[in-house]
Point group: C2
Chain length 275, copies 2
């Protein structure tokens, strides 16, 4: 019996691989990881269920972090699929899940797929010219984590591009509800390119170590790998006010661009879009 951990890619229900679909079809139960980057909510889930002709069980943060015990238990006697948007190894929790399965001697098969970590290559920047990826989290009045700043500074110092993964808040509780032990969740929030630009500029102003500035060349991207994908390049300041539409958004701070990369920067430039 096998636990299949299957990447769904970045788009719709047809971005699963042929092999992945075969495994889903022969699985006794199908779980869908439901919080790291799931979009479209119930509409997406309905599409998957229709396409697979299978019921899907939602695995939320609590279930995954509490060890997926039921799922692992079932995997000892049945074929089980665990579906993940993007590639299975985009998030730490799945690495953790695979380790637990191995400890229980459960056979695991992984079906890889595209993730934002490689699909951003479609903007024309070369993947091997990227340095370390950063995560940009929502700032609050009391918390403005700026550990990303040092990474961007190092990347740019050595001419490398920086991919910024933008924060997603799904199934978060307000402090009030958390304190009261009420399982009431806030509506999901997805960071926009604009918010990312503003936070970057805010931290540069505070730190003032010239890791980047308002004129630094960047790419804003939305819905990468989907039909209505949008790519716009421009300076950090210019991208503050571009409307990228519905989530997910991604952001790239450019390092030194090679001439083909520069051609792409010009192709997608905000100035050309306005023509």
């Amino acid at each position: 019996m096998v636990l299949y951990i299957i990447g769904l890619g970045l788009g719709d229900e047809k971005d699963i691989t042929v092999k992945g679909l075969e495994y889903v079809k022969k699985s006794k139960k199908v779980y869908l990881e439901f919080y790291t980057s799931l979009l479209g909510g119930s509409m997406y889930i309905d599409k998957l269920q229709t396409f697979y002709e299978k019921e899907i069980i939602l695995a939320d943060r609590e279930m995954v972090e509490s060890g997926c015990e039921e799922m692992l238990e079932l995997s000892k006697t049945e074929d089980i699929s665990f579906l993940v948007v993007g590639d299975p190894f985009g998030a730490t929790t799945h690495t953790d899940l695979m380790m637990r399965a191995k400890e229980l001697n459960i056979e695991v098969k992984v079906v890889h797929n595209a993730s934002i970590m490689n699909a951003i290559g479609c903007c024309g920047l070369q993947l091997y010219s990227f340095g370390q990826t950063i995560s940009m989290v929502f700032f609050s009045e009391t918390s403005k984590p700026d550990s990303f700043y040092d990474r961007v500074k190092i990347n740019r110092q050595y001419g490398m591009h920086t991919l910024c993964l933008l924060d997603i808040k799904v199934k978060e509780q307000s402090i009030e509800n958390l304190l009261r032990g009420k399982k009431i969740y806030e509506p999901p929030r997805f960071m926009t390119v604009n918010q990312c630009c503003e936070q970057l500029l805010e931290i540069e102003e505070l730190r003032n170590e010239k890791a980047y500035d308002a004129n630094t060349e960047c790419f804003g991207m939305a819905r990468v790998g989907q039909d209505d994908q949008l790519i716009v390049s421009g300076t950090l300041q210019e991208l503050v006010s571009v409307d990228f539409g519905t989530p997910l958004h991604s952001f790239i701070i450019c390092g030194n661009m090679h001439f083909i990369e520069k051609d792409y920067y010009n192709l997608y430039n905000i100035k050309n879009l306005k023509k």
Copy 2:
């Protein structure tokens, strides 16, 4: 009419996505990019042709670098598929192809898939802890390009892991045949983990800047994303003599490992394998 640029993923004919397969099925002609990382040669091509029920035209380095003119011309009036092992944006030539298509006003649709750049996450190291990727090319008596050394040094200085893409020589001509204008090609060569380790040690000895040493922790990986995938961790010195079997091989030089990463390092360790 559309030019579909479709990633095939890393494994067999069933690693194409459902969407990618639909596009192949409705294409008038199907080209397969044939030199950046194609394995299994004619066996692989036969499998694809049988699975697609379509003839496949091989696009070799000459065709792609000379601009794929015939293919682009056809794309103006017919649906055409251009297949690429891994993800379409793994190699510079495809970025170049898309730019040419855009200049000719040909509609391009990209179907993403897994590539080595994200699939290496399966070794348990976190993708966002990787620095810049390096390419390791075959050394010869007269040429030992060591520009990778500075990148590894920077990555390790900041605790980041380094993915090493290992050289592939397909359809290369000997200098003799090249000078005589004979289109006779050498058998394909794929760098092994062992050769990579040896070259790394050779350059460290020459440069002696302590970017890494024989005791540096590493992962050797073979056939990532395929059924007989192999992952072995160990020191650079230890991995010199491990037999990783048939190509493709990949290599990772570790930076600082987080505790879950360390668990995976131990799980795949050469010492455990020998038990």
